[in-house]
Symmetry: C2
Subunit: 134 residues, 2 copies
Amino acid sequence: MANQQPRLDQVFAALADPTRRAIVMRLCAGEASVGELAEPFDMALPSFMKHIHVLELSGLVQSEKSGRVRTCRLSPEALVGAEDWFQHQRAIWEARLDRFEAYVMKLKQEKAAAKRPAKTTEKTTNKPSKRKGT
Amino acid sequence: MANQQPRLDQVFAALADPTRRAIVMRLCAGEASVGELAEPFDMALPSFMKHIHVLELSGLVQSEKSGRVRTCRLSPEALVGAEDWFQHQRAIWEARLDRFEAYVMKLKQEKAAAKRPAKTTEKTTNKPSKRKGT
DNA sequence: TTGTTGGTTAGCCATGTAGCAAACTATAAC
DNA sequence: GTTATAGTTTGCTACATGGCTAACCAACAA
């Protein structure tokens, strides 16, 4: 569990490059050899291999050599790990938004209560608070 | 719509650094001044400011100077954009897995049908196909 | 066995990134 | 007005990254 976090550095760094993202996208559609993967890119093979290597180090891709051809496949755990990070942040962010919304609501009610001297000054900190929608 | 994609480079590059991820996480909990943000890090201010700058360029963070203090806040669009990328990839990946599963199922049934000459060789490409569950 | 194919290693270069210290600017605070 | 505070600008290192060529190795194919 402690080993998962350092991988995020590598995963995000790997995905920061458009070539590597394209490789990942390609591999989502199924495994492929290095040559097949490299073909769409106007790049020398050694340069391309570096990208493959970065992807392997990040854990996003696994590869295996059989004969003289190396076959690459996606290893989704790393992808999922990164996605989890986003969801976690979003959860925190949204929780805060909800709290903020509740706070604004409370301010509004207090202000309203201050204007009109007598009314329901109770039931302030109460709000369904459902963000979502996507 | 075409301008969204190049931003991914910057967003992922920004998140590849643990310091910057920590800043983002901190900002999920609410806005803060540069000084407040920098305080937990054992790092000279100019170095820290570079990280802030990278985050701003990526669109993850917005900041505004009032008086002599610069206040930073998260700008969630970029975060959501990156999250969307993952979800998109995962959708493709899972669709493929489902197809693969169906394919294996079909192979199995064909094999079974070959062994036993007479049985339901129909209804092969049919499967609820719900991956999920991690 | 002699090519040819598919990948790999080694070495080089340009650029980018992460860090520093030092000096500077502009706004509070006294 | 002087001083402290909060950032900012300006160099400067060191190292990582992305690209190349050239040479190399290890399977097939003829």
